[in-house]
Structure formats: structure tokens, C-alpha cells
């Protein structure tokens, strides 16, 4: 069962709560402005169609921000995102609504803290638009002791 916040000690199999995001034109325009990327593929319908697309397409990198935000919301402010790798499998278009999901795949500890590995997806309807892997570092002060992490069994 997904929990709004991570368990004190995440275990393989723990699921993140699903996050649904409406990708209306205002959101795409805001992201374009915030990232200084005004490519017409992301806001110009005629341009997008001339390029062989149905309509303006969401910048794939936007999903990095959304996936990272979902991870941080679940893991809490003390967690540090160490890595995020994404594969963009299908275009996502303006006015699509996507669902972000994630699952813990591994947990290990060292003197730096507890490292949580995760898989994430961005679903658009019945298809996976983006697949991702991530690693979060939970500091020792977050209630864990390095070297005593039990990988445990998946829930």
C-alpha cells in the first residue's frame, strides 16, 4: 500500500503514492519560461504538426522535475537526490494527464547514510511515457544507522 511519506526505513517493494499531473498549456508555457526553452514544439500547434506530431509536445526534461518533486515529497526535505535516469518512450502532448508512480527496489547503508534506489514511471493513459531509476540518500540523522540496514524482503 503506498504511503504519503516514506517509512522510517524504506524496504524493497515500498510504493510511492501516485501523483497525477495535468499538462495544460499554461504548465508547458511556465516550464518553457522557467528553463529558457521556447522551442515551438512545446507551444505552437502548427509547428508541431509540421514536425509530424499531433500537437505541442511536453519537453521530456520536464518529467525530470516532476519525478524529482514526487521523490522529494515522499522522502522529505532531509533526503538528497543523488541520481535520476530517464528514458523517454513516447511523446506526451499538451492537455494530457499523466500519472507518476514509483517503487523502492533496493536499500543499503554506509557512513554517508542510507541509499534508497527506486524505479519510477510516468504513465499516459495505458502507456508508459517515461521510465526512470533514481537514488536518494537519507542522512544518518534521519533516524537510521549506517551499516545496520536490513535489506529485508519486499512487502
Amino acid at each position: 500500500m503506498p504511503t504519503d511519506r516514506r517509512p522510517l526505513l524504506p524496504r524493497p517493494g515500498d510504493e510511492l503514492p501516485e501523483v497525477r499531473v495535468d499538462l495544460g498549456s499554461s504548465r508547458l508555457v511556465a516550464y518553457a519560461g522557467a528553463t529558457w526553452d521556447w522551442h515551438p514544439l512545446h507551444h505552437d500547434t502548427a509547428y508541431a504538426r509540421a514536425a509530424g506530431l499531433e500537437r505541442p509536445v511536453a519537453d521530456g526534461q520536464m518529467f525530470g522535475a516532476l519525478l524529482a518533486s514526487a521523490l522529494q515529497r515522499w522522502a522529505g526535505g532531509s533526503a538528497r537526490l543523488e541520481s535520476l535516469g530517464m528514458r523517454y518512450r513516447r511523446p506526451v502532448y499538451v492537455d494530457d494527464t499523466v500519472a507518476l508512480a514509483g517503487r523502492v527496489t533496493g536499500v543499503d547503508g554506509d557512513e554517508d547514510g542510507v541509499r534508497v534506489r527506486l524505479e519510477q514511471t510516468v504513465r499516459n493513459g495505458g502507456s508508459i511515457a517515461v521510465s526512470a531509476t533514481a537514488a536518494l540518500l537519507l542522512p544518518p540523522s534521519a533516524g537510521h544507522q549506517a551499516g545496520r540496514v536490513d535489506e529485508g524482503t519486499p512487502r
Binding site: V21, R27, A30, Y31, G33, A34, T35, W36, D37, W38, H39, P40, A51, G52, D59, G60, Q61, M62, G64, A65, L66, A68, S69, Q72, R73, G77, R80, L81, E82, S83, L84, G85, M86, R87, Y88, P91
Partner: protein, 175 residues
């Protein structure tokens, strides 16, 4: 997607000798100004981050900390006249016929958060090129770049391995 061996280019291949010769190409850009707190808030708001309008997390010196992916996703570090296609970021001048470019993937590694006040230099290197056939028999070219974001002291803030995919427009029209 593995790179084809030289001399095995097939009809319709985009993997020309001229393109292969670009592997190892480099480009660097230094931001015209430091990262600002308002830019951080704008990114957080655009990314739908909770509490985007609340005071941001700060470091020990009171500098606002950016959401982790901002350093790799913003193009504010690139200066110059806005090109006709509206994209200010780095683009390799690839010897290709008219093609559609799409993102294939990004792999980010973060060494520390981007901070208010950072003056960032971005280093690009064209790392790999490769090609495969699509199910419909068309050609799909991949171009992999290694990108490094460093601060004014030369310390690495983040790295980004970016894969761009290119498909000739003639093939796109045929689909």
C-alpha cells in the same frame, strides 16, 4: 544503441564519416550572471513543487537551494541571440538531412544542489553516435552527449548524459 563499424553504412544511413568525425567535439558556456532566488522560485513553481512560493531551503550562508534537476534543465546559462527555433541551449551542428529531433533520455548525477549565487559553466562533449533501424525500416540516429555543470571554483555541481534521437523528415512524413 551501438555505433556501427565504419564502412558498413547502408543506404539511407545517417551515420556518415563526417558525423563520426564529430565524436569528441566539445563546447563550453559560462553564464552571464549568477543564479537568482527568483529564477529558483520560477522553476519550482513551473515544476509544480509543493510550497514553491514559500521561502526556499537555504544553505549555511542563506543562499537558496534550487530543486535538484534545475541545474540540468535550465538553459539560462547559455547567452547569445535567441535562434529562430526558440531554443537557447546547446545544439550540435550535425551534418544531417532535414530531420526531427526528439529526446531519448537523460541521466543526471547530482554532486551538490545548485545554489543562489552560483555562476555556472557548462561543458559539452559529443560522446557517441549510433544508429538502428526502426520496425518500419526507417533510420533512427542517436547522439549521446556528456554534459558537466561546474561552479566558479571549477567544482562539479552535476553531470548529465543526454541522448537525442533523429529521424529523417522524409521517414516521418511516410509514417
Amino acid at each position: 544503441m551501438a555505433g556501427n563499424q565504419p564502412g558498413t553504412e547502408r543506404a539511407g544511413s545517417l551515420l556518415t564519416a563526417e558525423l563520426r568525425a564529430m565524436v569528441g567535439s566539445r563546447a563550453s558556456y559560462t553564464a552571464a550572471e549568477p543564479v537568482t532566488r527568483s529564477a529558483i522560485r520560477y522553476f519550482a513553481r513551473a515544476a509544480g513543487i509543493d510550497d514553491a512560493d514559500e521561502p526556499p531551503a537555504v544553505d549555511e550562508r542563506g543562499a537558496a537551494l534550487a530543486p535538484p534537476t534545475m541545474v540540468c534543465e535550465t538553459n539560462e546559462f547559455y547567452a547569445g541571440t535567441l535562434p529562430g527555433h526558440g531554443y537557447l541551449g546547446h545544439v550540435w551542428d550535425l551534418p544531417l538531412p532535414p530531420s526531427r529531433g526528439l529526446r531519448g533520455g537523460n541521466e543526471y548525477v547530482f554532486f551538490r544542489p545548485l545554489r543562489e549565487g552560483d555562476v555556472v559553466t557548462v561543458h559539452w562533449r559529443l560522446a557517441e553516435v549510433g544508429e538502428r533501424r526502426t520496425r518500419s525500416g526507417g533510420v533512427l540516429l542517436s547522439v549521446v552527449s556528456d554534459v558537466e555543470y561546474v561552479d566558479a571554483g571549477g567544482d562539479v555541481i552535476a553531470r548529465n548524459r543526454e541522448t537525442m534521437l533523429y529521424q529523417p523528415m522524409a521517414a516521418v512524413d511516410a509514417d
